[in-house]
Point group: C2
Chain length 588, copies 2
């Protein structure tokens, strides 16, 4: 696959042949060659957005370039490539994400718009394509393959089948099929997975894997089915087994799951590392602002003992052949001119970042031109049944007492729950938790207009006082997930979400914190600094209420039915292990 | 690109999961993992033609495989891939070549049917596709891009334009565009090269380069134009420069040009070798019988100091990503089951060779099943004007003397010629060489029916006596190239070629040697042993007449207009440097 540049091929050839001047020459650099591993002095010549020549400094051009950039002796390396990222998890829209990560040297991201697809379907993917077209950052898109991820167990905003995936694959910059996370369906040959894999195979596009903890015969079977990569390893031995089996492994350092750099332990001593790339998967704005993205993984890899030149190659070139690109990820004739100047090969902030031959950042400052034509058009995606009232947030029951399913956390990160049956009094036709310390409501309300909801209970230690916490960031269908001990607070929190178009709302006796995420209830329209301030404010309030160590998104995964524990969806309580429903109330 | 196996994906998955038994398990092996560089004991499980699992020896399968093969402690490595070969240069048809190279461990070849295309056009390519479909050897085909290679300077049997290349790219097993050897046309954007490159780029297929001695700005310009590989390097520094510029380099060890293993000197110390493969390009049957093909290059690379595991990877896996295959070149789940068992990692004869999960050779013996359905249908491609007579083999001139262009060799390998103007007597309207020691006729007769011919002179030391040597193997158009000192012998030699459908004919006072090459005048129908005997017989006669060191194909390149010296084509004497014609006779 060749990325088409903006210049005519013959113009590039003529410039390489020095018949016409180049637009840019980057001089006075230590050039890191990612094909050979060598470092040597060179000059990089660029025309429009493409490298036309890397020459020796003593080799003068017949015609001087229009612009000369003095590298001041820095290393010139390709731009970093994030080989798997959900933009939605950053809470920024693609055009704002661009301004946030480019100063750190990331110039290309391979994205899976799985989250917005679950909310908005094809329109969501279209938004990501359109909005990312206004970014300096090169953004490629994969067609989400598992929308919804757990059919029958929850109701999301869209259902993707093979024809839908085919429509997406016809769109601009869509280069493959995104993580095939329904691995039981892949292995059993379910209609949906089989037909999507066949569609991808027919087109010969990249098929992205997702095989957490898969090993031995299951891992082999999964590779046979088609997926060629994986980013779910959580240990060095898992990485090694996957590489041995022919998987390209994206070593992940994200905000939700982070076992990096332990992942390196399995393969650091290997002779070759060309089957490895780096990815962030899910990394929130605050972590990006503090540490960057792929540069951070390069840094941690080097600190963990990986040779810096190896780390640079893993962070740059390797993702290009992974995806089948033949002019991305290196600085060489015919390659897209995405590169950075760094003082050391240690993942530090680059002194200059170029994308498509134009400088777009320097020393941490984003200097990409304003793209005033950016479209942020989006609909409010929080659709509730009209007449929600306080009783809708309670658990109806007959008799005087009832046994209720209570979610009890048994693992901290990621939080997994067991179900305990606990007896509660029933008053006026509803379960009463009055006076029950450490118990609150956990609920999921469908936000796609079908009126479905599940209200259950959970064990949760909180500070004193009435509260409600509600979020539209709730994987994978992103219905409204709620934790509360007072139904009037809960109703108000839901109404606030409805008004803001989604986000996170924390209502407590001292007031209300809101993180508005109006795009699909997942992303803010604010640039990174403003967004981080909002995140910090609500996160502080969350910690004050739920305890110091509480993750911002602690309530975003109790509805994720692919987890092995018990979860709540809009359709009921699901036993993740058996993928079946458990009743909320067992009347006594 | 995924090679489609013969089994249904679900059957492979079910076998990997041990729900159904495998067809074959290869046990008791030292498994060489070409992804990690590790060597460890393993068992390889195969279903039909695909690897489903590589497991630890202590990991027993629930269901035993139908067949178990005891590797007796040998190394198991993937089959070798020849990354660029002209089958015609072996003088064998594809099905016979298969039986010749498979016992040496080569299981896949990437072929360019450039020679037969110049003779027979699309029908020639079709013959190669059809005939190779009956071989155990996996044969992929590239669409020849430069037919003819020197338009206007010679007349061949076909002209390929972009629509022709497009038709070829639609055919079975055609996976890219073959060597773009018209690099002046590539750099200047000639209509033919530009449109063919665009056709290839539009389809996203592999574009094979051919850039002998290209360096600096021309090399950069050539890479920009599209070609991603090169196999023409003749020194280590040339290899290094090409890899630095992002070319995948096929290190060549052929019969015509062989600077291997010097090629390694430029990159042996490099950190990575994934941009390298091995190829033979042109290797004749006799050399194949004696040494094999890619195994021979592995052997020479190891003897030259390359680590054996690196050499194995260069000879196997690396060509797969070069061409964009994702299930070829390794022994891993989902990969086509092409592998070999070798006692040492030294390029020696393998103890067993498997292609598509079936053993096809062992200890040098071809044991692939007979493919009695093989079609060898071919037309006689030697078309002469009906009434050739002895005077047609002489040089007409007026007056009493004439200055004649004489080709004088100035370089031995490859033979390059200068032109000397020498004066000769004219008798009865023809130049006379009677009594001129060390002078003979050099001629090219069109064999595609247009009647064009060029008769000139050359300096050539030979044994005593009358002779004529004629061949239809004459690059690139494969007209009839002739050397003779007697026109009656020449006439007889040409008639013999006509009758045999082409080949090599040497007529001398002691008799006649014929190497019949009836398929396109390029390939024999005989299997390798018989063919080698015929080659040896005529080669002995050639050496007796022209001197001990004479190459079998010494007369096959004096008509090759892409060489920098003077050459003869059916249209006249061509000055290769200026690509213009020189008159044969300058009348005094």
């Amino acid at each position: 696959m060749v990325i088409e540049g903006k210049a005519a091929a013959q113009d590039l050839i003529d410039a390489a042949l020095q018949k016409v001047p180049c637009d840019l020459s980057v001089e006075n650099i230590k050039y890191v060659n990612v094909f050979t591993g060598e470092i040597y002095p060179a000059v990089v010549d660029v025309v429009v957005d493409t490298v036309v020549r890397v020459r020796r400094p003593d080799e003068r051009c017949a015609l001087p370039s229009h612009t000369v950039f003095d590298g001041k002796g820095a290393y010139l390396i390709p731009g970093f490539i994030d080989s798997h990222v959900h933009v939605e998890s950053t809470m920024m829209i693609p055009s704002n994400l661009s301004r946030a990560v480019v100063p750190w040297g990331t110039t290309t991201i391979m994205t899976d718009p799985h989250e917005i697809a679950n909310v908005m379907g094809i329109d969501g993917v279209r938004f990501m394509i359109e909005n990312s077209s206004h970014s300096a950052l090169r953004q490629f898109i994969l067609a989400p393959s598992c929308v919804p991820s757990a059919p029958g167990l929850e109701t999301g905003g869209a259902i993707f089948d093979a024809p839908t995936v085919a429509r997406l694959l016809d769109m601009e910059r869509v280069v493959g099929v995104a993580e095939l996370m329904d691995y039981p369906g892949v292995l059993s040959g379910s209609d949906r997975m089989r037909s999507i894999l066949e569609e991808g195979a027919r087109r010969g596009v990249f098929l992205q894997g997702h095989a957490p903890s898969l090993s031995g015969k299951e891992l082999a079977a999964y590779r046979i089915a088609g997926p060629v990569s994986d980013h779910e390893s959580s240990s060095g031995s898992e990485v090694l087994e996957k590489v041995r089996n022919g998987f390209h492994v994206d070593l992940r350092g994200g905000s939700i799951v982070s076992t990096f750099p332990d992942l390196l332990s399995g393969i650091r001593e290997n002779r070759w590392h060309d089957m490895l790339s780096f990815c962030t998967d899910d990394r929130i704005a605050t972590e990006i602002r503090e540490k960057g993205t792929i540069n951070d993984l390069v840094q941690r890899a080097v600190l963990a003992g990986l040779d810096p030149v190896e780390a640079v190659r893993i962070g740059t070139f390797n993702a290009a052949p992974e995806y089948g690109f033949t002019n991305l990820g290196a600085v060489a004739p015919g390659y897209i001119a995405d590169f950075q100047l760094v003082r050391e090969l240690d993942g530090g902030m680059p002194e200059a970042v170029f994308i498509g031959g134009k400088q777009v950042a320097g020393n941490g400052r984003d200097i990409a031109p304003d793209r005033t034509d950016a479209q942020h058009k989006h609909a409010n995606t929080v659709h509730l049944t009209e007449c929600l009232q306080e009783p809708d947030f309670r658990i109806p029951a007959d008799g005087e007492t009832a046994d209720v399913a209570v979610l009890v956390p048994f693992l901290k990160a990621p939080i997994l729950y067991n179900i305990a049956q606990e007896r509660f009094p029933v008053r006026d036709g509803f379960v009463s938790i009055e006076g029950c310390s450490g118990i609150c409501y956990a609920a999921v309300f469908n936000r796609y207009g079908n009126g479905a909801r599940t209200v259950a209970l959970t064990r949760l230690e909180t500070a004193e006082g009435r509260f409600a916490f509600a979020t539209t960031v709730s994987h994978d269908c992103h219905n409204i997930a709620l934790l509360y001990n007072d139904e009037s607070y809960a109703l108000k929190a839901v109404h606030t979400l409805k008004e803001s178009g989604g986000g996170l709302v924390l209502l407590h006796e001292d007031g209300m914190n809101v993180l508005p995420l109006p795009v699909a209830g997942l992303m803010s329209l604010s640039p990174i600094d403003e967004l981080c301030d909002q995140i910090t404010a609500i996160h502080d309030a969350i910690r004050a209420l739920f305890g110091d160590g509480t993750n911002l998104l602690f309530a975003s995964v109790f509805s994720l039915p692919c987890l092995p524990g018990a979860v709540i969806t809009d359709l009921g309580i699901v036993d993740g292990a058996t993928q079946s429903f458990i009743p909320v109330v067992n009347e006594v």
